[in-house]
């Protein structure tokens, strides 16, 4: 059962999506936001132009963090590892944002992804409940609390990735 009415989530997202669309336009990314389903898709490229498709779902946002995962770049289906970019090696920013863990076998491991929390079978029981997502405390880890900031961080991870996690079929 949803914690927030969809209308409330839409109102909150309106401003953030405006900023996200402006960011995507500046960097020449294709961003599609579906207000009805409270979801978005962002087409990204890895090194060499390898296509990736990021999907976000915003049910109960911002009480709960979004659900972020990479999807098949053509079909848009959740296919697990083959949809995800692998971290560069050597990795330039401490610990990688995308790791092999969680219920889908791979996860964008940041406070701003619902799937990283143990409540959603993610690796982080130490973060407590999902509603803690905006209070990660002081840490060297990445932090984002607007949609555009989340997109920017994930796009960076894709742009300098080390290829695909698994072969795309």
């Amino acid at each position: 059962m949803a914690l927030l009415p969809a209308t409330q989530v839409r109102t909150r997202l309106k401003e953030e999506i405006d900023a996200a669309e402006a960011w995507a336009a500046r960097l020449d990314y294709e961003l599609t936001y579906d207000e009805q389903s409270l979801s978005l898709r962002l087409a990204l490229s890895g090194p060499g132009g390898d296509p990736y498709l990021l999907g976000g779902i915003f049910e109960d946002y911002p009480t709960l963090p979004p659900i972020w995962r990479f999807l098949h770049p053509e079909s848009g289906e959740a296919i697990g590892r083959a949809a995800f970019p692998a971290p560069a090696d050597p990795y330039p920013r401490g610990s990688p944002l995308i790791i092999d863990s969680g219920r889908e076998g791979v996860v964008i491991c940041a406070h701003f992804n619902r799937l990283a929390f143990a409540e959603e079978e993610g690796p982080h029981g130490d973060w407590g409940p999902l509603v803690n997502w905006q209070n990660p405390g002081a840490s060297p880890y990445t932090y984002a609390n607007t949609v555009a900031d989340m997109l920017a961080r994930i796009a960076l991870e894709t742009a300098d990735s080390g290829g695909r996690k698994a072969a795309l079929l």
Binding site: E16, D18, A19, A20, A22, W23, R26, L27, Y91, P92, R93, G94, S95, P96, L97, I98, I99, I108, C109, A110, H111, A116, H124, A138, S139, P140, Y141, T142, Y143, A144, N145, T146, A148, D149, L151, A152, R153, A155, L156, E157, A159, D160
Partner: protein, 90 residues
């Protein structure tokens, strides 16, 4: 070192337009060319209302080294740069 008139030479300043993902409008900054990218990015991040983190500046998808000075990173007067957090995953 003072110049021939006994005055300190003016520090070279560059004007940079910074875009932040969360904002639809950019902000302009006048920074000394010898300022590090990390210090400039931190100032920009604060101006845009970000909590302390690991911000840096980027040209498109290319992030600049936070340890370099703006000059060494090739930042020039009139440049337009993006602000991005480069903290690691967890």
């Amino acid at each position: 070192m003072n110049d021939e008139h006994g005055k300190k030479p003016k520090e070279k300043k560059i004007e940079v337009t910074v875009f932040a993902p969360r904002a639809t409008e950019p902000k302009k900054f006048n920074w000394a060319a010898k300022l590090t990218v990390g210090a400039a990015a931190a100032e920009a991040a604060e101006a845009f209302g970000y909590a302390p983190g690991q911000p840096t500046l980027a040209r498109g998808e290319h992030t600049l080294d936070r340890e370099e000075t703006l000059h060494a990173a090739g930042v020039k007067d009139g440049d337009k740069l993006e602000l991005v957090d480069i903290g690691g995953g967890v």
